[in-house]
């Protein structure tokens, strides 16, 4: 049998290779030791001059996770509109598939084009960092928005919403709709989804305040971010608690499935539903009265703010250090927080009066 020899040979090669390398080498803990030393603060060689005017003709590139995605199209259209306001030149470039490394060749290209600033939503917080470091070394300012990169890859992160704001405002929104009274439930994604659980903790904390004493959280259901499962979980909630006053679903999949169930049930309009969703997905349910109002950050404002943050950096108004202030056109003044974060603000509430102004 000649087929035996390949295996024997392969085993031999493998054994030799392992023997050669098993003694000594670099392990995870070695790297952890190296990096546990405090990292040097990002180079901010020049001091910030808050009164510096925004430079004219700034070239700012928006690099979303993926092009032709309505969310990013909305964000970047407003971002480019911002650059036009301050006399700059904005453009959107990016890959058509949201893969981890596809953004890197775009970053390299933007370095060649000598852009003044890059505004990026990272598909992989680490994979883009080597390229972004090169960009920063070449004098290009980097703003991350929507999805942050590892901190050494950018000057500023424009955060769309804080977990605390998202958690508390969803309770406030529902409380308003049900008159601060009655049983409520939460329809979440999975029991171990970090962001969901952070939001839910803030919701519980908000519900502990005296003004919500007549509201009772009876159940947290999990729809696994699966449309069918979320649908049947909603059904189950209303069967177990026929007197339920409202549901909060902090996941776009959950809220859409719950809305679809409610809109075809006798509970429509009686059981209030709110949470995090997108206008395109929930428009029909807002119009038919299933949902009074839901919330999300406004991606247009996010892009607009990121555009101004990029300009402020490139003009030397700010360097990314905590406490620096800059003006962002129609959105007003913003302050850089800890770790170079700029917070967009409270989420936007979408209802039948404003939903047609949004397309994402």
């Amino acid at each position: 049998m000649t087929t035996r020899t390949p295996w024997r040979r392969m085993a031999l090669v493998a054994g030799l290779a392992l023997m050669a390398t098993a003694c000594g080498g670099t392990t995870k803990s070695d790297v952890a030791q190296q990096t546990s030393a405090p990292a040097a603060a990002p180079a901010s060689s020049a001091a910030a001059d808050p009164n510096a005017p925004i430079k004219q003709g700034l070239r700012i590139a928006f690099l979303p996770k993926q092009v032709n995605n309505p969310y990013f199209t909305t964000a970047n259209t407003q971002g480019i509109a911002a650059t036009e306001e301050f006399g700059g030149e904005g453009k959107e470039v990016g890959p058509s598939e949201a893969s981890a490394s596809s953004q890197v060749s775009y970053i390299n290209t933007l370095i060649q084009q000598k852009q003044d600033a890059i505004v990026i939503s990272a598909n992989d917080p680490n994979a883009v960092v080597p390229a972004l470091k090169q960009a920063r070394a070449a004098g290009i300012k980097v703003v991350s928005y929507d999805s942050d990169t590892a901190p050494e890859g950018r000057d500023i992160f424009v955060n769309q919403a804080s977990a605390e704001d998202l958690g508390r405002t969803q309770v406030q929104l529902l409380a308003e709709q049900i008159g601060r009274k009655g049983k409520i439930a939460i329809l979440s994604a999975t029991p171990n989804a970090t962001n969901q659980n952070t939001w839910i903790d803030f919701m519980k904390d908000e519900l502990g305040k005296p003004e919500y004493k007549d509201m009772e959280l009876v159940k947290i259901a999990y729809g696994n971010d699966d449309d069918q499962k979320s649908f049947t979980e909603t059904q189950g909630l209303l069967r177990s608690y026929p007197d339920l006053a409202g549901i909060i679903s902090p996941t776009t999949v959950g809220i859409a499935a719950a809305a679809r169930y409610l809109s075809d049930s006798p509970h429509k309009g009686k059981v209030k539903l709110t949470g995090l969703g997108t206008p395109n997905q929930l428009r029909q349910f807002v119009k038919d009265g299933t949902i009074e109002g839901f919330e999300l950050w406004n991606p247009g404002d996010l892009g607009y703010l990121a555009g101004y943050a990029a300009a402020a950096l490139a003009s030397g108004q700010i360097t990314g250090a905590e406490g620096e202030k800059f003006k962002a056109g129609k959105l007003g003044e913003y302050t850089v927080g800890a770790d170079g974060e700029v917070l967009l603000g409270k989420p936007t509430v979408f209802n039948k009066d404003n939903i047609d102004d949004f397309d994402f």
Partner: protein, 324 residues
């Protein structure tokens, strides 16, 4: 040979490559720039590595569509073992071995069970990628040693070190294919497997080892990929197999086997890389880019066949063996 140069597909690719480089140097801002040349070469590394063995596989009238999934699986193994605390110097050979094993499974299914490689590797394409997700889930392992991540983007002048690695392996693969008995056997079995078998070529053994080499090369590409992006993830390199096959076909390797050259494939890898790089620099939208790449691919499959038909008609007596 030289007098045939213009008539050969490789000659055409060479002319096209030179033309595109000249055009881009003159009219695309930032193209003819040492650091852009490094980026361009870096961006083609993994495709080039996998295209080397893919050339041999396709010349042997087989195909390996599982290369990018093998790359992903090897990345996942790397991330998993790294998290488990193994030294990176031990992990790297294990990854290469894992890649070789992936290739060996493909090879066994094709040679021992006689299954068509297209079907087998579409199956393992899903299998290996699925296994990668089982091993590493959706986490990204990023705390890799900077000595290695630095090496992966290190350049010697404008030439990245990994490009030198590609060049060395290209010489090896080129020598095997074009200057050894094994290479002649690969061409022979690609052109006519039965005839090759009856003239003493060890068809199954050669094919088996080609798949093993293909898997190992994909694993090598995974090391470059992981260190270059400093990120080991199960979804690393999704879709790269199409770029590899595109380069091999554009390089003049017949999809039916038995015909093709390694220099042609390397020029095609470069051509696709240059076109992509230049069009992105010129702010051409991604959709147009994909369209252009697709067009080149269709042309590459169509043109050699049209060319062969034309050659047969113009000089029937010169056409030695029947191809395609």
């Amino acid at each position: 040979m030289p007098r045939d140069l213009v008539r050969r597909w490789e000659g055409l690719i060479f002319v096209l490559l030179v033309a595109v480089v000249l055009w881009a140097s003159v009219s695309v801002d930032g193209f003819a720039n040492p650091s852009n040349v490094s980026f361009l070469l870096l961006d083609t590394t993994e495709i080039a590595l996998m295209a080397l063995t893919m050339t041999l596989v396709v010349v042997a009238a087989e195909i390996d569509l599982s290369v990018a999934s093998t790359l992903g699986l090897s990345c996942a193994v790397l991330g998993w073992l790294w998290n488990a605390g193994l030294p990176i110097e031990a992990i790297m050979p294990i990854c290469l071995l894992a890649g070789a094993l992936c290739g060996a499974l493909n090879g066994l299914l094709v040679t021992r069970l006689g299954l068509p490689s297209l079907a087998v590797t579409i199956g393992t394409f899903a299998l290996y990628r699925g296994l990668a997700y089982v091993i590493l889930g959706d986490q990204a392992v990023a705390d890799l040693p900077s000595a290695y991540t630095g090496l992966a983007t290190q350049t010697l002048g404008p030439i990245p070190l990994v490009t030198i690695l590609v060049a060395v392996l290209a010489v090896v693969a080129g020598t095997v294919l074009h200057a050894t008995g094994v290479g002649r056997s690969i061409f022979a079995l690609g052109a006519n497997e039965e005839a090759a078998y009856f003239s003493g070529v060890r068809v199954k053994r050669i094919k088996f080892w080609l798949f093993v080499a293909s898997g190992a090369c994909a694993a090598l590409a995974s090391l470059v990929y992981t260190f270059r992006y400093a990120s080991a993830r199960a979804d690393n390199g999704v879709g790269l197999e199409l770029a590899v096959v595109a380069a091999v076909l554009l390089g003049g390797v017949s999809i039916f086997g038995g015909r093709g050259t390694l220099p042609g494939v390397l020029m095609a890898v470069l051509l696709l890389g240059v076109v992509r790089n230049a069009l992105i620099l010129a702010d051409v939208a991604n959709e147009v880019l994909n369209f252009v790449t697709g067009l080149l691919l269709v042309a590459s499959v169509l043109a050699p066949n049209l060319g062969a038909a034309w050659r047969r008609r113009s000089s029937p007596q010169k056409e030695g063996k029947s191809v395609s």
